[in-house]
Structures are given as structure tokens and as C-alpha cells.
């Protein structure tokens, strides 16, 4: 979503002060998208504000964030997301790719999708800006194959219950009131928030995923992410 240059990718995982949370779910293939969206939207609900409007003299006002209920079709579950079609589209796109990759060859149905919140730190030319993560959510997914309709029905309910637990976990983490980037000045706002959406303003985030093949090593998708990150896309 950012137009100007991308950050140099962080090489070796989260930075020192980045807190990391890991959630695990086992779902049926057709439940992957909804389960991922539920978790990602719940996190982003807590990590999005209204649009900032800077006024003279360094003050700013904040727009209003609307919310809406989303019912899942393949899971007995509903969740709340921020009312922003742009944000929803962006998440659906990422989750769709993840789902396709999970289905693809070389995968035994295990993978993980990560939502990373980061701040940009400007570097002097010729070095590109640094991206410093401050919170990383990783959802590990295990796709199961079910034999009959009865099992599927049970899975609908079970996964629904599991997701309820995940939402409670996420809310617990949010309630710790741990590090959040400082509210930025107008010139700095793009280093902290994604200001490209027209109705809400999430903290800068990026979504990436990895598919584990049967050898346990991650293949193509990590490379894809790296390529995309380094090109100005």
C-alpha cells in the first residue's frame, strides 16, 4: 500500500524489542480463509485508528472507526472487523494467496501467515529505510482432511470454539498495554501509520507467509516475499 520506496527487509527475524505472539489452528481446507481473516481482522481492529487530520500548531484530530459483524460460512463463528473495504480487500488478497500456496504442490498442508507491525526509520542516502518491527503475530495453520459430512459438521463447531479462544487470547495481549509507537508528528506519520486508506489508519503492517513442505523447509514463498519487498512495488 505504500507508494514510495520500500524498506530493506529485516534479515534475521524480529528485532530485539519486538513482541511476538503465536497462534495455532487446525482447520479444514475450506475454512482457512475465514479463520485467517477472523484473526487478522481482530488484530487490526485493535491496531487501527481513525484518520489523523493535522491542524496548525501541531495538533491533530482523529476520525471515527466503524465496525461490522462478519459471519463465517464454513465455521460456526462470527467476528467484528473494521469497516473499511480497502483494508478488507488487502487482507483477503493476502489470505487468498496463502490459501493457494497451502493447496499447492510441495505442501503437506502446514504453513504460517504472519502479520508484522513495524515502524520506518529513515536512513541517509544511499541506504534505504529500515523497517523495525514492534509486534509480530504468527498464525500457524494445519490443514486437515475430513472424510465425511458428519466430521465436517463437528469441525465447524470445533473450529468455531477454537477461534473464540483465539480472540480471547488476542484481546488479552492487547490489554497488556505494552509498547506502541509514539503518536507521530505530521512529518513522521507515514513512518508509523499506513495513511494510504481513505477511511481508517492502521499501524504500518506487512503480511507474509511461509509454507512448510514435507521436509520442513520453506520454499518459494519466502523468496517471493523477499523479491517483492526489495522491488519497489
Amino acid at each position: 500500500p505504500l507508494s514510495s520506496r520500500c524498506c530493506a527487509p529485516r534479515s534475521a527475524g524480529p528485532a530485539m524489542n519486538c513482541r511476538a505472539e503465536v497462534l495455532e489452528v487446525s482447520v479444514e481446507g475450506r475454512q482457512v480463509e475465514e479463520a485467517m481473516l477472523a484473526v487478522l481482522h481482530t488484530v487490526l481492529l485493535h491496531r487501527s485508528t481513525g484518520k489523523f487530520h493535522y491542524k496548525k500548531e501541531g495538533t491533530y484530530s482523529i476520525g471515527t472507526v466503524g465496525t461490522q459483524d462478519v459471519d463465517c460460512d464454513f465455521i460456526d463463528f462470527a467476528y467484528v472487523r473494521v469497516s473499511s473495504e480497502e483494508l478488507d480487500r488487502a487482507l483477503r488478497k493476502a489470505v487468498g494467496e496463502f490459501k493457494d500456496a497451502l493447496r499447492g504442490s510441495g505442501s503437506d498442508g502446514m504453513g504460517q501467515i504472519s502479520l508484522e507491525f513495524y515502524q520506518k526509520k529513515k536512513s541517509r542516502w544511499p541506504f534505504s529505510d529500515e523497517c523495525i518491527p514492534w509486534e509480530l503475530w504468527t498464525i500457524k495453520v494445519n490443514v486437515v482432511n475430513l472424510a465425511n459430512e458428519q466430521e465436517r459438521q463437528i469441525c465447524r463447531e470445533k473450529v468455531g470454539e477454537k477461534l473464540c479462544e483465539k480472540i480471547i487470547n488476542i484481546v488479552e495481549v492487547m490489554n497488556r498495554h505494552e509498547y506502541l509507537p509514539k503518536m507521530p508528528t505530521q512529518s513522521e506519520v507515514d513512518n508509523v501509520f499506513d495513511t494510504s486508506l481513505k477511511d481508517v489508519q492502521p499501524y504500518l503492517y506487512k503480511i507474509s507467509y511461509q509454507i512448510t513442505d514435507s521436509l520442513g523447509t520453506s520454499v518459494t514463498t519466502t523468496m517471493r516475499r523477499l523479491i517483492k519487498d526489495t522491488l519497489a512495488l
Binding site: 524489542n17 487530520h53 500548531e57 465496525t67 469497516s83 490489554n175
Partner: protein
Amino acid sequence: AMDTDLSSQDRKDLDKFIKFFALKTVQVIVQARLGEKICTRSSSSPTGSDWFNLAIKDIPEVTHEAKKALAGQLPAVGRSMCVEISLKTSEGDSMELEIWCLEMNEKCDKEIKVSYTVYNRLSLLLKSLLAITRVTPAYRLSRKQGHEYVILYRIYFGEVQLSGLGEGFQTVRVGTVGTPVGTITLSCAYRINLAFMSTRQFERTPPIMGIIIDHFVDRPYPSSSPMHPCNYRAGEDNGAVYPSVEDSQEVCTTSFSTSPPSQCVFTVTKAHFQTPPPVVTDTLKVPVVGLAFSHQLSSSRLSYQPAALGVGSADMGYPVLFAGGLNAAHPHQLIGPGKEGGVPPVPTQPAHGTQADQERMCTPLDGVHYSAATPSSSEDTETVSNSSEGKSGSPHDLLETIFIRKVGAFVNKPVNQVTMANLDIPFAMFAPKNVELEDNDPMVNPPESPETESPLQGSLHSEGSSGSSTGNTHDDFVMIDFKPAFSKDDILPMDLGTFYREFQNPPQLSSLSIDIGAQSMAEDLDSLPEKLAVHEKNVKEFDAFVETLQ
């Protein structure tokens, strides 16, 4: 008393926030049990009526009931606001499903900024409430209501009564927000045993159809408030009129401000202060120097229109932010830096050698005293790490200009024999030295009989003595100096800025040296055929990916 620590304006703000938080909490809970999907729109321009920057509709009846229950009070210790959700079947059996409790305990957070941090955390808590109300069992029940049962709500204020939830009820905590007058806690206790109990425990009341039409059901308990159905439909109003919340003149327009944290100023208009505050300046004229040395500095302030000044429903359409144009009121700006929005308060900072920081926080407003070249060390919570930015240079020049300051911790020798090796700088041992100093280098020629001050010292010396002939043993270990790298030095004050400037050119990483580089390259080359094979296997996928990049 607690109140004297909190300015009266802060106290008023806090009370207002808590009151509206309670009202919005009730709205969220009841609306989540209406049986319908809720949808509100985001709006990039603030309208002045969206408390906590969230679009939560106000159902007038619900607000009315909540205000009635609160009767002008606020949640306090022992006085909790509770929303009870229960289910009533078409046969008249009813069962309590959940009790949502908004409580206040005595644990105060005196340091927290009301107008900024508390407000934002209350907003976050409402978001959590939105999420949690969808994951308790009653949500799914409420979505299916209408035919065999309805969901009812009841608001009461006082002591929490959980006995109606049956045995083994579970509790989920939505969240807490600390304030200077206590900690607000929001939680839900919910029944897990949804099997209907025997009917003798429940009331027999008129059939359910009557409830929907009349909107009210009177419970025979004299002390309890009436229960209300959660499937209120705005269009089916039976004639009762409730004051809409907009008429109450309680408008919150929030405006935040950012400026370097050194400008922790109170800006008080003449109308609002009686005694001159300790420091008052023209906020807006403070120099912007602060931004130059740390791009993350900011603080935020909340300004709002006090309700008494006549902002009524008529003005709601305007994004009322400052009183710039209005002559009715001036914004009352408060200090806002909070734990996540501004510079953390001094007490949480470890001692740094930068005295500027201490002064800045303790005496807000002396104008702006900084050490000019000091990168901010107060942003402890920042994850920013000042990496060397790739400058390659040798430390030769640097270290030779450093004064010889202190004897290293483990050297047992007279001060006049200090060498560069004894600088209390980490990794000083890697600095190239003048040859003539090697004789005095304790790591090469350890003193005869060191008095072991620590086990470490002994081992360092023994290592040194075994390799003393080569003269290169000082490369094998690092002189460990327990003095923290950035602390002040009594003999030669070197503040953080100087240190930072001097050490901007650290020595080259050994992994970048040719030998080691060649090694890992060889390994990489060996594994290349394997990797190529894997990638060839997936060539179709790559091609597809490249397509997407076009």
C-alpha cells in the same frame, strides 16, 4: 486524598470519560445481543459525537435505561455497573446467561495521562468489548432468537450478583484501564451449562408475544429493575419517547497534538486557572529544535470543548476542535504524553549519562535544554537501534585521539602505566596499538602475581601469559570492564553524544573479512545445485509469480 493529585480539570475529564465509557459499554453489549449483525461506517472526518473515536450507535432506550440505573453515579469501588443478559423461552422459563461487569478497583495509576492515554485505552477497551461480545455462547443464542426464545437485558448498579449463572460459570476478562482514581475493569461471567434447569426455579410470566409488543417485562422482584428485550426495533416504538443522547450537551470532540516532548506544557486559558501554574508559556512558539535529533519525539494533548460552554446539538455538525473560530470557549490543553503516545515519564527511565533528559522531564518548560548532539536516550521503549549505517572506517584514528582515562577493572598496576588497552571502552582490545605500548599491555605481560579480584581476572591473566610470546594474544579475549558503556566518567566526562560520534566508525566485522567470507561462499556454492534443483521443480510457479509482477 486522591483528588488533590489530579487537577480538577483532569478529574472532570476523567469522570466524563468514565461516564460515557459506561454508556457505550452498555450499547455495545445490548446491540450485540439484538440478534442482528451490526454495521457502522468509518468516517475520516470526526463529527464530534463519536466518543472514543468509534462509531457506536446510541439506541435511545438503552441509554435511558443505563442512565436510570446509574442515577448520576459512576462506577466506583463496590459500585459496579452490570448488564445482565438472560434468555426467556416462549413457555416463560428464563435463565441468566451472562453478567457483564464494569468495575472499579482501588489500584490507582497516578502517572497516567487522563486526557490522552486513558482516553485511548478506553477506546481500545471498547474495541476489545466488540470482539469479546461475539465469542461468548450467548452471541450465537441471540442470533437465533425470535421464535422459541428472546434475549433480554437488565442494567443494575451496585453489587455484582452472579448466583443466577448456575454452577461452574466462566469468566472472561475484556480488559482493564488504569486511571489516577482507580482501575477500570470490564469482564463477563457467563453460564456454560446451557441445559435448562427445572422449571421451578423460574418465573411463569405472560407469553412471549406480550413481551415483544410491550417492550417491557416487569419482574416481580421489587428491587430489580425491569428487564428489556434485546430485540428492540426502532420502528416499533410503542409511543415511549426517550431523550436522545445528543440533547444532553455532552459532546466530546477530541483533538490531539504532537510536539516535541520537551514542550510538556500546560496551556491554560485565562478563564480556567486561578493561580498561575508553575510554568506557562506560549505553547506554540517553542522552538522545533527537538525534532532534529529524534524523529520519534512527540507528545499529544487532548483538547475538547467543555460542555458548559454551550456546545449543543446545533454545533455537532462542525468538527469542533479548537476554539480558534469560536468565541465561546478556548481549548483547555493538557499534557498528554503517555506510555504509548509520548515520552515515558522520568521515573521509568534508567539512569543515563545524559543529564539533559533528566532536566527536560523534571522541569517541563524551562524552554528547551538539550545537549545538542545527543540522540535521545529517553526513548527507551523504542525499538530503534542505531546501526552503524555501514560506514566502514578504521578505528585507528578514533582511538588514538581518545584520552587515556582509566585503568581497566582487572588490571592490577599503577595508574601511570595505563595504555590504550585499558580504556574503558568495550572491545578496546581490538584497537591497533602502538608497538611500544605492548610492553605495558597487561594482557600481553600480565603482572607477576595478580591479586585475584574475581575469578574472571585470574583466567584472563592465565590466558594472556600462555601466549605472551606471540604478542597477539590480546586478540583472543576481550578485556571485560564492568563499567556500563554509556555511564558518566568521573575523570573525563564523555557524554553519550561524544561517545556516539566517536564510535560511529566501528571496526570491520570479522565476518566481512576475506578469509571468512570466502569460507561461507564456498559453502553457498556447494549447496547451489540442490537449490537450483528445487527451484527448477517449481519453475511454473515462478513464472506465474513473475506474471503477477508485470
